[in-house]
């Protein structure tokens, strides 16, 4: 019997033996896949099946990529020291590259989709796209490109064109398109979460008159979110002995996946949306409701009384606040007359004053109610009772560690983005800038840089994301400013204040729409007043923040400033 020493405990997990074993395994896997590919090729040869691009992709290209990937991992492990140094130096480049990659992938994919759609539409008998049943052949693609109206005989296509045809061919399948877009969304959520982690800590630091993360990555600790994520992934995944194992393991994904799915119906602009569903809003609300079940199961399965408290609190809080939140959402739905997010967004293109929040006093109030309810629905401070540190020691995620804990937080930040995005979509002009989109109509159909200018100035996903992040900032700001509310006050605020308020607002909006003519003097006056109030709020916010930032040294005081490094 070997003796158990302290060395066993502190031994690094990445030992030379482990390294050698990993290299062996990856090499073996790569070789097996390569042999499998060869066998598949031979089989296809023997059976004489002519090779369509799908089979080429599934049978030969994908396994080859996998095999090369495995062999590359072997190389990476072997040259770990060298690569590590390279990675450290290139971290910022890689990060920016991945950001650009996400945008370019989405943009390029949509370009390819459009191209393929044009080819399909140009067929004499247009076909419906199905998951597997694309009927477009590479020949048709080649012909589409080669055949110009003047020169229809050009069937002898150059080989490069044939290669392009092979590249384009797969995009007629919706499955592939959705997979690519799902990857883009996953990438976006990851970047959002890692950015929000860094941002939250930076904002917290500024609010608390300190610097926040400054080390990781160099410039103002920009890589802190990534570093946190990497650390959490490496940590041990602990399941308490008496926990309900399967449920405990399942719960984080029940929190994360519904929120991720909600991005399915969240439009970033009129064209940048995965599915503009006619029931989009209801679906998003329903999906946001599901992640509560994950939280409750997490608390229950942990077999910890504090976690149980967190679970029961989250149940009470969510079930209550979903009602005012949903009812506040009903007001803009009533005003717009549709549940389709794209249609609601398109309504608000006429500039700052046509944003739905400013269309009637009831909508203006509903925007505020919705924002408070959405704070509660995200379990953010001051409604963070389910995870109240000073009462419940972390609540439902007390027992979680490592990757699963990270999944909870990915879910939380993604949910914050979704609820803020809903607020922007329904109340704050969706993807439109404060300028009326009609001013830029001449740009909208122009060349690529004119269209880019239009997207930057008038309407585009950049505006949606920017406005959503502005609301996200308010979430963060509140969290580091306000104390936490007690559970009875939370329930009181919901049942006795917000619920009656939203009911009255709903009633008021109903009568407003029935009685007030949309072009009458009352409607215009209300519109002007609400617009001015909104502008005043924004101006006051920006003004206060700017004044505070400019005078930060004087406000903090001389002594504390002298303590800062570099002063």
């Amino acid at each position: 019997m070997t003796e158990f020493t302290a060395q066993d405990v502190i031994r690094p997990r990445w030992s030379p033996a482990l390294r050698a074993r990993a290299i062996r395994r990856f090499m073996l896997a790569g070789l097996i896949i390569m042999i499998g590919t060869g066998v598949a090729a031979v089989c296809l040869e023997i059976f004489g099946r002519s090779l369509s691009p799908l089979w080429l992709t599934v049978g030969i290209v994908l396994p080859s990529v996998l095999a090369f990937g495995a062999l590359f991992v072997v190389f990476a492990i072997t040259a770990h020291a060298l690569l590590g140094r390279l990675l450290k130096r290139l971290a910022f480049v890689l990060f920016i590259g991945s950001l650009a990659g996400i945008v370019l992938t989405a943009w390029g994919a949509s370009l390819l989709f459009g191209l393929v759609d044009r080819i399909v539409a140009a067929r004499p008998d247009p076909i419906a796209q199905t998951i597997f049943g694309g009927e477009l052949t590479t020949d048709e693609i080649v012909r589409f490109f080669a055949a110009t109206p003047e020169d229809p005989k050009a069937l002898e296509a150059p080989p490069a064109l044939e290669f392009v045809a092979y590249l384009l061919w797969p995009w007629q399948f919706r499955l592939l398109r959705d997979l690519v877009l799902a990857l883009v969304i996953l990438g976006f959520v990851s970047v959002t979460a890692s950015f929000a982690i860094w941002w939250e800590r930076k904002v917290a630091g500024r609010i608390q008159s300190r610097l926040g993360p400054m080390r990781v990555g160099g410039w103002h600790g920009w890589a802190q979110g990534i570093a946190d994520g990497l650390k959490l992934v490496q940590k041990e995944d602990i399941v308490p002995g008496r926990a309900d194992g399967p449920v405990f393991r399942l719960a984080p994904y029940l929190v994360f996946i519904p929120v991720l799915t909600a991005f399915l119906a969240l439009p970033f602009s009129d064209r940048w949306v995965l599915r503009d569903l006619e029931v989009g809003l209801v679906l998003v609300l329903g999906l946001l409701g599901i992640d509560v079940i994950g939280v409750i199961l997490a608390g229950w399965a942990s077999h910890n009384k504090w976690s149980m408290y967190g679970a029961l609190r989250v149940a009470a809080q969510m079930v209550s606040y979903e009602i005012p939140m949903g009812m506040a959402l009903l007001l803009p739905v009533m005003a717009a007359g549709t549940l389709r997010p794209g249609a609601i967004g398109a309504l608000q293109s006429g500039g700052f004053h046509t944003w739905l929040a400013f269309c009637s006093p009831f909508l203006f109030a509903a925007a505020g109610v919705y924002f408070v309810a959405s704070l509660a629905a995200c379990k953010r401070a001051p409604f963070d009772l389910p995870e109240a540190e000073s009462e419940l020691t972390g609540g439902f995620h007390t027992e979680y560690s490592g990757f699963r804990w990270a999944v909870f937080f990915f879910g939380e930040y993604a949910a914050m983005f979704v609820v803020c995005g809903l607020a922007v979509l329904l109340f704050l002009g969706a993807w439109h800038s404060p300028l009326p989109a009609s001013w830029g109509e001449s740009l909208a159909g122009g060349s690529w840089w004119q269209r880019g200018l239009y997207a930057l100035l008038f309407s585009g996903p950049a505006w949606f994301i920017a406005k959503t992040y502005a609301l996200l900032f308010v979430h963060i700001w509140l969290r580091w400013t306000l104390p936490r509310i007690r559970i009875d006050q939370v329930m009181y605020a919901c049942v006795q204040v917000m619920l009656p308020m939203t009911m009255l607002l709903l009633l008021g909006q109903m009568f407003w729409q029935l009685l007030v003519p949309p072009d009458g003097i009352t409607a215009r006056a209300a519109n002007i007043v609400c617009t001015l109030a909104g502008a005043a709020i924004v101006a006051a916010f920006v003004g206060t923040a700017g004044w505070g930032y400019l005078n930060r040294r004087r406000l903090v005081g001389p002594l504390a400033v002298n303590h800062l490094p570099g002063s």
Binding site: A204, I207, Q208, S209, R210, K305, W306, Y309, A381, P382, D384, L385, A388, E389, S390, E391, T393, R479, W480, T481, L482, P483, R484, I485, R486, I487, D488, Q489, G557, P558, L559, A560, H563
Partner: protein, 401 residues
């Protein structure tokens, strides 16, 4: 934790485990035993509070102490008084200067030593500065207990500067042993008084900032006003002292009522708890958590007042009386109490003619104040327990000693 004594609960002693009982609405509910601590963010150390809860309601809360017991008093009976001073640092480690001060005063009374004038002023400066530092920690951590994370950073930012001053005076930032028997160990360093004045000018407006940030915050008031009310009779009966006693409306401060050192020369007010209205938020009751918190905020202002008077009046001269190291304590006993940030700290020192005291006994304010927890935390909500414990402001180093 294997065998819990039956007398743990004042009611129903035989029910050690989850027990069914008729709830307020007739529904038979089950109570849950839950340990708050010893590792819990809002017990401020290694306090364990055993809660018996009925849903979110706390039926009973019993504090269990002793996790930090270090036999301080017994050690005091085996050391000479000047050797024991570092041990007093480690009792209430957030107010080490005050602990040094009170113990030195007790031993000086036993020996009949007179402290030089300058040393007395330095002692008052240090004690009041440490009072501010200690109240700053109380303010910041109370914010944390309430879920407001920012207050603690502000409080520690200012406290850092006080610790810098202490470091300049004695070289230590937490356990000073600066005030010693017969005076203080060293004279003040150069520019100390100027830096102190600079700090006071900087610090005084900050208290208004804290009030804006936390004291009058609507949510904070809602969380603390009318919560954990301790009546004046209860406060006296349970032996509460310090801000906890004054918050209940009792105007009792040893610096004014039984002046020691040179406190009778300064002008300052004794802040007490006040009911809502007239600048105080509505809903506030005398003796509630908000008042306990707010008395501390006002005491910081009073300390600033005292410090300004000290700066104006501090004389030059000796800082330490001639006390031989191996002094023999007379066969007599003395009990001396001083006003510490958390209440009255008392030292009983009994000599028997040898250099080592025959008996050293400390009366810790935190220990006595903590005792009322189980009385107040009855029928409150779970979230009120951190609010109450935080407002009592305990330091486990002194509770357990």
């Amino acid at each position: 934790m294997t065998a819990m004594p039956d007398a743990m609960f004042t009611s129903e002693p035989d029910l050690l485990f989850d027990a069914a009982r008729d709830g307020p609405d007739g529904l038979r509910t089950e109570e849950m035993l839950i340990n708050m601590g010893p590792q819990h963010p809002s017990t401020h150390g290694v306090l364990r509070v055993l809660l018996r809860t009925d849903g979110e309601m706390v039926v009973e809360a019993v504090p269990h102490i002793g996790y930090l017991h270090r036999c301080a008093e017994k050690i005091g009976e085996n050391l000479q008084p000047y050797q024991f001073i570092p041990k007093t640092d480690r009792m209430d480690y957030l107010a080490a200067m005050n602990n040094n001060h009170v113990f030195s005063l007790a031993v000086e009374r036993l020996l009949g030593v007179e402290v030089p004038e300058r040393a007395a002023y330095i002692r008052v400066i240090m004690a009041e500065l440490n009072r501010i530092a200690s109240h700053l920690v109380a303010f910041g951590t109370y914010g944390l207990d309430m879920g407001a994370f920012t207050a603690v950073l502000y409080a520690f930012r200012e406290r850092e500067y006080i610790l810098d001053l202490f470091e300049a005076a004695c070289g230590a930032r937490l356990t000073y042993s600066y005030i010693t028997i017969g005076g203080v160990t060293f004279d003040l360093p150069e520019r100390f008084i100027e830096r102190l004045a600079e700090f006071l000018d900087y610090f005084e407006p900050k208290i208004d900032e804290y009030d804006r940030l936390l004291s009058y915050n609507h949510i904070f008031v809602k969380r603390t006003a009318g919560v954990g009310v301790i009546s004046a009779e209860d406060a006296i009966a349970w032996g509460l002292t310090g801000p906890c006693l004054r918050a209940s409306g009792v105007r009792w401060d040893l610096r004014r009522c039984l002046p020691y050192e040179i406190y009778d020369r300064f002008e300052f007010d004794i802040p007490v708890g006040r009911p809502g209205g007239g600048g105080i938020p509505r809903g506030v009751v005398v003796g509630d958590c908000w008042n306990r918190y707010f008395v501390r905020m006002q005491e910081m202002r009073e300390s600033v007042r005292i410090l300004r008077q000290c700066i104006a009046a501090i004389p030059a001269g000796e800082v330490r009386a001639k006390v031989p190291k191996n002094v023999r304590l007379p066969a007599d006993e003395v009990y001396f109490e001083g006003e510490n940030p958390r209440g009255q700290l008392g030292f009983l020192v009994v000599g028997d003619g040898s250099p080592i005291p025959w008996r050293v006994k400390a009366r810790g304010p935190c220990f006595c104040n903590l005792s009322i927890t189980s009385h107040v935390c009855r029928g409150v909500l779970l979230a009120d327990v951190p609010a109450i414990i935080g407002s009592i402001d305990i330091v486990l180093g002194e509770v357990d000693r």
